[in-house]
Symmetry: C2
């Protein structure tokens, strides 16, 4: 029997680990709660009607179809038995155990409301396809409801969109919503001008795009403001309800009336991390990440790798690139051991740079010492994402959707489902 590798999660980390094992003498089992991988950096485009869910969420088994040593199972890992070396998996309706020789835990992170989970009802996050489709319904639904509202002040609350958190996701979302209202929806409504919509980006820290070099932060803020986004820094959200948000800045309380709120402020690693760490006494930080050894293994369990957003190592950020590289590192380590080389080599992260789009034709890019802004940055973004979507079924449909959104002025993917209309009706009484 071959060496059995179990991988929990098919995000960037899990998928790159699985792919990197394709020539190794192992049996790979990938377990995920959904049937799809998620190209998370483009999720905001699903929420704003640019891309379809299929464009950013290929079926995991489709990505791995030709890798004969890999199988994919739909199920939720609810426990890890480190002693018996078994996963406890809740498949749809049943519970089963999967034995492993090596384990790669790549369960990722979910939205964090910093102890205020009650905010989630009124300010959904942006971490899953379900989130993105929910937000799509809310964003386009808000414009529909504004068209129905005769009273100006109430209409304004439908036309106010608040994004909480000015990391890349928040910045990209705010930019897209502004672009939607200023350009894409022009001429669609009769009782108001969608360009009058307010887009407010609220951030607790003193800057946007914290991980970027300072000049790019300033440029991003400048570009956002030129697009019509109101950027409110040093502002803390203290309450969220159906009608708006309570905020506080420098000890002064304020209120923003807004029907549509989106939470892009923080992440919390999967509870699986704490569950595993608890068994061996490993440290877990406030964000739920497990402190691992330099080679990404769990202390005392060299056969268990914790990678990506779930891993705490050297202050590495929770970005796709870290997940991919740590996944590949875990895979290479397993393959090396099977060849008899058991030296643990530390994981070395190679920073390939970082980028964020502001609107069409505008982005900020930081690669080593190279810093790009404006059109040059946007073209770099486009190129990199077209290349990265390889292995995805095809890039042409995504590219066609982009052509419509960026060159034309429409959004092809703005379907509100009847379930969403029904749910909203119930909420609004």
């Amino acid at each position: 029997m071959s060496h059995r590798v179990a991988i929990v999660g098919a995000g960037f980390g899990g998928l790159f680990a699985a792919r990197a094992l394709r020539r190794a003498p192992v049996d790979v089992t990938v377990v995920d709660r959904t049937n799809h991988h998620l190209f998370q950096p483009l999720l905001y485009q699903v929420a704003t009607g640019v891309l379809s869910e299929g464009d950013v969420a290929p079926a995991i088994r489709d990505v791995l179809r030709n890798q004969r040593n890999a199988r994919v199972l739909l199920g939720e890992v609810i426990d890890v038995d480190l002693q018996a070396r078994e996963l406890v998996v809740d498949t749809v309706g049943e519970r089963s155990r999967i034995a492993y020789d090596s384990l790669i835990v790549a369960a990722g992170a979910a939205q964090s409301y910093f102890g205020h989970d009650e905010f989630a009802v009124h300010a959904p996050g942006m971490k899953t396809i379900d989130d993105a489709l929910e937000l799509r319904g809310r964003i386009f639904g808000a414009f529909e409801l504004a068209e129905l509202e005769a009273e100006a002040k109430r209409r304004d609350t439908w036309l106010t969109f608040v994004v909480v958190g000015a990391g890349p996701t928040g910045v990209e979302l705010a930019g897209q919503i502004a672009e939607l209202s200023r350009r894409a929806l022009k001429r669609d409504y009769r009782t108001f001008d969608p360009a009058d919509a307010r887009v407010i980006l609220v951030e607790a820290a003193g800057k946007v795009l914290a991980p970027f070099p300072e000049p790019l932060q300033h440029r991003a803020r400048h570009d956002l403001e030129r697009l019509g986004v109101e950027v409110r820094l040093d502002t803390l959200v203290t309450g969220v309800d159906e009608e708006g948000l309570d905020v506080t800045r420098d000890g002064v309380d304020g209120r923003i009336d807004a029907r549509t709120k989106i939470w892009a402020a923080g992440v919390q690693a999967s509870p699986l991390g704490a569950m595993i760490a608890g068994q061996v006494g490993a440290t877990v930080d406030r964000a739920g990440r497990v402190s691992v050894r330099p080679d990404c293994t769990l202390p005392g369990h060299p056969e268990v790798f914790v990678i990506g957003d779930l891993m705490r190592l050297d202050g590495l950020p929770g970005v796709a690139e870290v997940a991919m590289q740590s996944g590949a590192h875990a895979a290479r380590t397993i393959a090396r051991r099977l060849r008899g080389d058991t030296r643990g080599r530390p994981f070395r992260y190679r920073d390939l740079g970082t980028m964020a789009t502001i609107s069409r034709f505008r982005a900020v890019v930081s690669i080593g010492r190279v810093r790009l802004t404006g059109l040059a940055a946007w073209l770099t973004w486009l190129l990199v994402h077209l290349v990265f979507l390889t292995g995805f079924k095809n890039r042409f449909a995504a590219a066609a959707n982009w052509a419509v959104a960026f060159l034309g002025h429409g959004r092809r993917q703005r379907t509100i489902t009847e379930r969403q209309v029904f749910a909203r009706k119930k909420e609004l009484g």
Copy 2:
């Protein structure tokens, strides 16, 4: 003030009526329960992962964005006050009235279970985007669950798909599911060969594609069977549950074990038809369609047109073409009246032919005396649908999805949402 035209429903009938009024001196109000028009003939491709919902469901207001005399409202018409000439509309959360001078009722039809609405839970219909996304989750989910099932007999029930009703929708769905299992999903699973999946097409009548000329019916059945679809004619469904269906044929009862059932058997016109007919004593047939005068107006109310699937006239079928033409007829009649020409002209339907795809490269087409089958018919289908998707934001993304599905061998749109996984979990206990 301009003449006010209210249009209920933005299907083919309502949308064609609105478009045909673009140069008339009228104010058009289109009311629909959803924000999208639905290109229903391609809905089966959303269910089977070929197209995204945005490909077949453009936003109504996007289609009408440049028609300045038209506005679009999201709302459900719950009553028509023929005396006061007002619609009673339930917009999200509120109730309002919309006054009209002319009314076009194009509310269409929903799935009919012929008095067995309890079948719907286990055998969803195929009339809305919600239906198609639900079926997408069930179809791809069934293969996922088959992969998890160790017991062969139980696995077979996950790999059995039953389509009830052999009209164009049922035939196209059965063909696509067969193609999915025989071609598109090849190599995706490890514990079974998806080509072993059974696709059963159950029909109460003695033939498939009843509205087509007989030679095409035979050809369609032959093509389906060659593709691996089991066609069971003269077979009545008497019960549907989670595990399968009860059927009866020539008085002999039978049972089909199948986890995935799809209902494509009948339609029931919107209850709005009966509501209106009741006020004037007009006849309503068993399918809920309102008998109208030869010019598509409601008896005694020349200002009210009932068109499309909601109209009963001269035995015309409930197809897109009839809806479009009757919509345009109503619009032209209103425009003529405003020019002073009040003669009511009868609606004359021009049959432009009918077509159905069986699989990629195979279809049946009947246009006048011309009958096509096989590749020639399929190319005709492709051409007609590419042309018809005009006015849709762009055809290129749809065409790109088609290229992947028909020339390559994949399905790009097979995302199962977490909500669907969760719902299925609950159902299966």
